[in-house]
Symmetry: C3
Subunit: 396 residues, 3 copies
């Protein structure tokens, strides 16, 4: 995009910045198209500014606090790098289960870490029905303390993966799609296969496919979802996807095999996730610490998983895609057959051919985080982007 | 306070800044009234500056190092946020017991982490007779290395809770009192009840009541201390409190029931702490790792505790306070009956009514930390505050 | 050195900056003399700038990422302080063995943490033959992603201790030698004894003596290496040392006793390290987790160690050195007889006399780290140093 057009684009999407200002980002389907588009534009401008060596600092003080209730390398780094890009220091709350539990204590902790904080990033993706609820509890507590004047500002809560959605992942993925297909406009009519794939582990979160299905369907795309019986996704993101597909002139269809989903696809996103019944039971068993039953559940889930070993993204399947050259996507790390497991999500040759592409996909995440911080917490975000676009125009 | 008067006030208390420059803050009773007053004023100005969006950076580089030998959420965050406010990066020394022990190694570690460090914040509150001593050992080591020219500057040691005192807590509490009673002057003649309260745990540090008793008694207040037999506080802070009460025209009395202490009180601070004999024995048992005896000790302490279950801050008791509306204070987290325990320090209704007030109390802590850093380590602290006051005058 | 001469010196060594720009620092013997001299000069100027209160920030954003696969206090702090000196925020990658293994995953992780990163500092010193290889794998992955345009810049990899070398230690040691002997020129003809010493532990890395032998021999020094049979060092650093000694007009000799090594020495560096055969076997046993054999190996190694208890740096031995006053060096922490062990590397009196000197030695490390960051990652490093020298001239 020419730099002069960049400034026009900022102006066209300024409403997106306005709609995000002071908001949380918990589920992408709670935000309008213009907001999504603004975030992608901001991510792109920030990336170009860094490549051009332009200053990007927007804060002279302030903290980005992260709470990780599950492991993370990529998102943790992206959160820290994205905050650093704008001048925020980052701290991670080392939350032991006993210190910060639900109810009374969530309210208290949210207030305690909010005083000089601009962003609270949270990952809570282990238990279906809990992650999103926890984030809304934190948000409500921050609201209460902000209203009472206890907090000097209301930090924005950014979802770094919950049981329903994974916005920093799906937005980075979308940025990757836009970069690949010549802008979001280029996505109209494209066929995107989001399919379950086999993994030797059984309990991966459902947030990545749910985030992808719900977000990618906004742009006139034809999204095809495929998985074995029992691996259905949660209804809320599916309903968001159906609505978006309808409104954008695209479609959402469900196929019952990886082969069917791959047929003529422009993009494939084969990825393991847990059976929804198992996730529900796991949440239920959690109370009371019934470890014997949890072990039984795990055994049954692995047996169920093993039946679907053929759900692997192979070279033969890739040949079914459009021109045999669909874009392969993965949030990483992938389970690669013969590399880090015996029978995984993707064959070695397919992954190796796409490997650098998956790194590129991940590379957008720090900029997406920074764009979300900018949009939610920096009052003059639009002006800042205009100034950066201006300087980019001059240096290019 | 009008902003013009703010500048007068800075000038009046400039001697406080001078007396803190280059000093450690280990025990508040080692510092004069003017120093305490200066810290409170600086905390207030920094908070107003942040609310007004004014810049507060005082360092272009430099570290604040924290050493936590006990759990912390609130103080850890406050330390990081306070340092960040002034431009210091923070790091936490992850001190395993084997790497950093007493004696030789304390000297060495203190030197090793001091080279580019402005502040060393330490929490060591687990063992009576050890925490304060450890801090003085660190301070002496820093002195030695600074004298030898090995350290480029002598970092200030800030007590983030020891066995004797908890200055960042008591100063934030005092700031809260000043905000509630129209300045420190408003505290004269006020009746403040600092009382033991029951908790299902038995070993909470004594530093919070000791810090409160010794600090609050400086301002002509009538401090009433109450606890069951066996829960006496350490002599050093009590002696400081008696002296301060005498000098400021206030009083320190000891009552033998929560009811007596609450009678006509303007402020109540009901809080559990460990029996001093148990704390002493715990320190003694520590050497040699006599875990069987430690378990016995814990059992006995819990049995002793259980006898005092009626020491709970209830609505009925609150009605005994002045107008039935005393300010309820707590350093958090509180043990709340029926919320996070069966029989705790405070009833659910009393806590809920005061809950946001306790958050407000905690909210002062980052600014107190920043004020201590400013006073001890920034040579032109007074000028900086005057400039902030000047700008506050213009923006208001 | 007079400040005017400082600027001449910068100009003379500008080629060193050029040769380090965009490079990794894995083994000092991969870098020319002029590069080593430039790093020492930069460390000296940065230290003086900090002492004079001059600004040292070179980055407005960016991260220094550290990966510690072994314990560290000193180097960890030095890395953070050195990065902070130039304006980089630091983060530590908490790498669990399962997440980041060799092969596929190293490539991926390197890319994932490289997007906005200037420096990747790595400690991996536990297994002979593995540490250096891991660092070269990370470097190769960063190269690949940089070439593909996925990384916005190629971060420099800095060795924070591997199985072969420990550059930040040896360069800080060298800086200490230069400060003691009136510049690197003052080292010509000096006799430096690097000798094994007894410790109650058996498995200390060989990287400190290897780093010292290979680096100190560049300056016309007479390096004497001494150790019991079986404690030979790796061939690669020894070969580098022999070559440097030849080229610089110095010498490298091997003695078979501490007494012989100390005879007439200007500098002594008595330090425990593991027998090379044990280190090799440990690496081999690692695969398969043969813990019984590891326990046997440890027992045998400790028995072997015990035979060499007399290898202790005592006052009697110090009297054999030049004028009885050789400079005692240690990377810390030292095993001190009667202080933290029964029979260690050094006697209590010798260590106490030299203690502050060893702190001074360590104090150079943050500046060495900063100098390495400056040289490898800041394009106008030479100009920045000239400007600092200029300001130092004016303030002095």
């Amino acid at each position: 995009m020419a730099d002069a057009r960049l400034k026009d684009r900022i102006d066209q999407l300024a409403g997106g910045a306005a709609s995000l200002a002071g908001r949380d980002v918990l589920l992408t389907w709670q935000h309008e198209d213009v907001a999504i588009r603004f975030v992608l534009l901001a991510a792109r401008i920030l990336e170009r500014a860094v490549r051009a060596g332009l200053p990007t600092r927007a804060f002279d003080r302030g903290l980005g606090i992260s709470i990780f209730r599950d492991k993370s390398t990529r998102t943790r780094y992206a959160f820290r790098a994205g905050c650093n890009l704008l001048g925020l220091a980052t701290e991670e709350l080392d939350e032991s289960t006993s210190q910060v539990a639900h109810g009374e204590t969530v309210r208290e902790t949210a207030a305690m870490i909010g005083f000089l904080t601009e962003i609270v990033g949270i990952r809570d993706d282990m238990f279906l029905g809990e992650g999103h609820r926890y984030m809304t509890e934190v948000a409500a507590s921050l609201d209460e303390s902000a209203r009472a004047g206890i907090l000097l500002q209301r930090p924005a809560v950014i979802n770094l993966q919950c049981d329903l959605d994974h916005p920093t992942q799906s937005l980075a993925d979308l940025r990757h799609l836009a970069a690949t297909f010549n802008g979001l406009e280029g996505l109209a009519g494209k066929r995107i296969a989001i399919t379950w794939a086999h993994s030797p582990s059984y309990g991966k979160p459902m947030s990545v496919p749910q985030g992808a299905v719900s977000l990618f369907s906004r742009f006139g795309t034809h999204v095809v979802l495929a998985h074995p019986p029992g691996y259905e996704l949660a209804e809320e993101p599916l309903e968001a996807a159906r609505r978006s597909a309808r409104e954008s002139g695209g479609s959402l269809t469900v196929a019952d095999s990886m082969d069917a989903a791959f047929e003529g696809a422009d993009v494939v996103y084969p990825k393991s996730w847990a059976p929804v019944a198992v996730m529900r039971e796991r949440t239920a068993l959690r109370t009371g610490g019934r470890s014997a039953q949890l072990a039984d559940l795990e055994r049954a889930a692995l047996a169920q998983n093993a039946q679907h070993e053929p759900w692997e993204c192979t070279a033969a399947r890739m040949r079914r895609t459009r021109g045999g050259r669909a874009l392969y996507m993965h949030c990483l790390p992938a389970d690669i057959t013969g590399v880090n497991c015996r029978a995984g999500e993707v064959s070695r040759d397919v992954f190796e051919a796409a490997r650098l592409d998956t790194y590129r996909e991940a590379a957008y995440k720090p900029f997406v985080v920074a764009a979300l911080v900018l949009a939610t917490r920096v009052p003059d975000a639009v002006d800042r982007l205009r100034r950066l676009a201006d300087r980019l125009e001059r240096v290019s």
